[in-house]
């Protein structure tokens, strides 16, 4: 017992001594194997490039899956390109939803169609959403025809460590092509909602936040221990000294759960730290500091009092849902205002729908945040370049720039407005038909 405590203390001290500077995001390749196809030129639209302002009456050319040229009216269009006149339309990069459950659910009420959470234990880092991702889900076309071309797919929030996220493209021949980056990040949820053993008569550990935090610490310590054993074995195994090599013996028994934690403990991949209340946020941040996790903050919906502190961490924040109710004593707009308040403090924010069926409504949350003081260009960044940078896919996504993937949307107005109708969606330079289960029903009955 004492020994364990000593180890924990020593560990905390060592970790605290290390630098707290966030490590740069690993760069990911978000492209599926290049889809050759027609060359498309969008002509006459208002280009919201995100990275270099607005170009009126612009031209975007997409070739071999990527944006090959972009600029004003004089931009050369290659011979043979299909020219789409988008005069009067707005052209912008495909939107990125920083948390969805797309492909993990079909009909919410039917358990057999839900693969959102493995709730047999709180610590399930070895669950990979790519194992459940249903590429043919009817929800995906519904979402993409409203201009969302990429998304994080995350398990539900019910476990402290529910598994690992994948980053998807909302079109592709199969799951293989759509799962652009597997295991891109790992959620760590600490909102109180992970407590599920609250029946006193059948109490089971962990019952409280204390139990959950301790369980998390132990899991990380176990993983570090596992890592050390592996390293020691490998050291012996690769020793030049034959005697040492022989001593190595059999490798440590493989443990998928602990193994899953290693890239996160090594700071190679980000942990998405979900907390809502200030106390939970502080506990979660302490945990992250103690184990040197590379952090993306998530929710912070009720932490309006800690915004300066959040800004001081320099961490990016996935904001929302901004539709979360404020506390009874609070003004009605406390939660709505959080994106604006964070952006004002220089925090890099990204929006998420936290949904599947209604992921298509992602841009409207950003639009509402504009009402509460977020600058419209910041709001648009929080749906494009910011998440692209946060998730390490900005080489391919997040702006209209030559060389990036042809994930481009054309709409008849402000991308953030509820009234705006999307007219064209391109993913990797290919036009996506504006067809879903819902448009088919519409066309069947609207006569």
């Amino acid at each position: 017992m004492l020994r364990k405590l000593f180890i924990v203390c020593a560990l905390v001290a060592t970790l605290a001594a290390q630098s707290k500077k966030p490590k740069p995001s690993p760069a990911h390749d978000a492209a599926a194997p290049a889809a050759a196809g027609e060359t498309i030129a969008l002509k006459g639209g208002k280009l919201l490039t995100i990275t270099h302002g607005v170009i009126e009456n612009g031209v975007v050319v997409m070739q071999n899956g990527r944006i090959s040229a972009l600029g004003g009216a004089g931009t050369a269009i290659p011979a043979g390109a299909r020219i789409i006149d988008v005069t009067g339309m707005t052209v912008y990069p495909g939107l990125i939803d920083s948390e969805t459950h797309l492909g993990l659910t079909e009909i919410s009420a039917d358990r057999m169609t839900n693969d959102e959470l493995e709730n047999s234990d709180e610590i399930m880092p070895h669950m990979h959403v790519y194992d459940a991702f249903h590429a043919e889900s009817a929800l995906i076309p519904v979402t993409r025809i409203n201009g969302i071309t990429n998304a994080i797919v995350a398990p539900a929030i019910g476990d402290t460590l529910p598994g690992q996220d994948s980053f998807i493209q909302l079109a592709g021949a199969s799951a293989t092509e759509m799962l652009a980056v597997r295991d891109i990040a790992m959620p760590l949820n600490f909102t109180g909602r992970q407590r599920r053993n609250q029946n006193f008569d059948q109490a089971k550990f962990p019952f409280t936040r204390m139990g959950m935090a301790t369980q998390l610490r132990q899991a990380f310590i176990d993983a570090q221990d596992y890592e050390q054993k592996l390293a020691a074995w490998e050291k012996k195994k690769s020793s030049a000294d034959e005697k040492e090599k022989e001593k190595a013996g059999a490798p440590p028994k493989r443990d998928l759960k602990l193994e899953a934690l290693l890239p996160y403990l090594q700071g190679k991949k980000p942990v998405v730290l979900a907390a809502e209340e200030p106390n939970d946020l502080l506990t979660a941040l302490d945990l992250a500091r103690d184990f040197h996790l590379k952090v993306i903050l998530n929710h912070v919906t009720h932490s309006a009092a800690l915004l300066d502190r959040i800004a001081a961490t320099g961490l990016p924040v996935i904001v929302g849902p901004i539709y979360e109710q404020p506390k009874e004593s609070e003004r009605y707009d406390v939660v709505y205002s959080i994106p604006a308040q964070l952006a004002k403090r220089g925090v890099k924010i990204a929006f998420a729908s936290y949904d599947a069926h209604q992921a298509r409504n992602l841009p409207y949350a950003a639009g509402y945040a504009v009402g509460f003081g977020l600058l419209p260009e910041e709001a648009l960044k929080a749906l494009t370049i910011n998440p692209a940078q946060i998730w390490g896919v900005d080489k391919d996504l997040g702006s209209l720039d030559v060389g990036k993937l042809g994930n481009v949307v054309v709409a008849n107005g402000d991308p953030l407005d509820v009234r705006t109708d999307v007219k064209h969606v391109f993913i990797q330079g290919q036009e996506i038909p504006l067809v879903s289960k819902q448009t088919q029903l519409r066309d069947q009955y609207w006569k």
């Binding site: 009909i107 109710q325 009605y332 069926h357 407005d417 519409r442 609207w446």
Partner: protein, 437 residues
């Protein structure tokens, strides 16, 4: 048997409330204009969306004693009227939510019997619930607070005005007709079916309803017989036992209640309308109504309205065919369409929901009506609220920009001519509420 005696207890408890409520409704409807509102207000300079007669640029509204006294480009108002400068703002009627469950704590369903028409929402109304305030801050001035959908017949609703900070009775919409909530489909099936009780199927659902109305008819006949005997001077006539449940069902058959039916599937709209025809009552509106677009012509022909969401779908089987064009297809086939919240969250931004209606095919006017005059009709208060017309209650919301959009905010919200919410005020922005009162 045990349940029956429990039910009887509940009935007794509710008796006084029922009688009190009927008396109140009657009294109030005779007292128009409503007493107690002493105000002279001039809203000046905004773009007014009247709902019934188009848009007035740079218009004004004169409010006198709680009512709209004049509206137009220039209106006469006394010099001492309080002026609200709405220059550069948008002015529309207060939003009306025709399907809400706020301010009821968790007392939305009495899931102990599939037919509980005598459960009176007023008995559970928590008028201090801050959800009333948060909806008000989103421009909502009137809501229909309905029972849930655990039961085929859930109980009788209340209509409130969002005068947050006032007492319980002041929040009740004076003279509003009484609505009753029916349900159908998966929810009653699930609630009773999982207990191995009737109803566990849609067959059971509708059988339970028919049986209830047959019982109510018999009850009415007994009372008719008794009254006929009394009329004839029969001194030995004994009255049948007063039964609150059957009394409430009889009120449905007598056409005294507005019937609001939770219903998703196309086949169920048809069955509901057939049962209504069989027993001779009218359906006011189908709520949720996600498949209305499949049988919109039939719904329109029966004069039934729908209160739907612009885009909810897929959360259960009966919501699997929900499409966001439902409102537009139904409206274009002649159905009166309201967009409602059914949600403590969404009720705070029904203006956005109406904007989505435009996205999915409603005209701007239809979308505006869908959160004002049409829900007012569903609730039965369209003569009183839902448009900016002379003689109507001065329930008005003033917006920072075109309201049916993503980023418009309600700046001020007036009810009966008094400001109840003002975004520019510190704290909660409320004018009639003190913390801890």
């Amino acid at each position: 048997m045990a349940r029956r005696s429990h039910m009887f207890g509940v009935m007794l408890l509710s008796l006084f409330c029922v009688l009190g409520r009927l008396a109140m409704a009657q009294q109030s409807s005779e007292q128009q204009p409503a007493p107690g509102f002493h105000n002279d207000v001039l809203i000046k300079g905004g773009t007014i969306l009247t709902v019934t007669h188009g848009k007035i640029e740079n218009g004004s509204i004169y409010i006198h004693n709680g009512k709209i006294a004049a509206v137009g480009q220039s209106v006469q108002a006394p010099a001492n009227a309080t002026v609200i400068d709405a220059t550069g703002k948008w002015v529309m009627p207060g939003i009306i939510d025709s399907h809400s469950h706020i301010a009821l704590d968790d007392d939305v369903n009495e899931p102990t019997n599939p037919v509980t028409p005598h459960m009176m929402m007023k008995d559970a109304f928590d008028y201090n619930d801050k959800a009333i305030y948060r909806a008000l801050a989103g421009g909502v001035t009137t809501s229909l607070l309905l029972h849930g959908s655990a039961n085929m017949i859930g109980g009788q609703a209340i209509v409130i005005k969002h005068k947050y900070g006032l007492g319980r009775d002041e929040l009740l919409f004076p003279g509003a007709p009484q609505s009753i909530k029916f349900a159908s489909g998966e929810n009653p099936k699930r609630v009773y079916g999982t207990r191995n009780q009737l109803p566990a199927t849609r067959m059971g659902n509708f059988e339970v309803m028919r049986a209830s109305f047959i019982e109510a008819r018999e009850y009415m006949r007994q009372w008719d017989d008794y009254e006929a005997k009394v009329k004839k001077g029969d001194k030995d006539a004994t009255p049948p036992k007063k039964d609150l449940k059957l009394e409430a069902l009889a009120d449905v058959l007598r056409g005294k209640l507005l019937v609001q039916i939770h219903c998703y599937r196309a086949d169920e709209f048809l069955t509901e309308m057939a049962i209504a025809k069989e027993f001779g009552y009218k359906i006011r509106a189908f709520h949720h109504a996600l498949e209305a677009y499949k049988v919109a012509d039939k719904i329109a022909a029966n004069g039934v309205a729908i209160a739907t969401w612009p885009d909810w779908w897929g959360f259960k089987y009966e919501a699997w065919d929900g499409i966001p064009w439902n409102a537009a297809i139904s409206a274009h086939k002649g159905v009166r369409v309201a967009l409602k919240s059914d949600s403590e969250d969404v009720t705070r931004r029904l203006n956005q929901e109406a904007g989505k209606g435009i996205h999915y095919g409603l005209t701007e006017d239809e979308a505006l009506k869908a959160i004002t005059l049409n829900p007012a009709w569903i609730i039965g208060v369209d003569e009183r609220v839902g448009s900016i017309d002379v003689g109507k209650d001065a329930d008005i919301s003033i917006w920072s920009s075109y309201p049916l959009s993503s980023s418009a905010l309600a700046d001020k919200v007036l009810i009966d001519g008094d400001v109840y919410f003002d975004r520019s005020l510190p704290g909660l922005g409320l004018t009639h509420y003190k913390e801890g009162q």
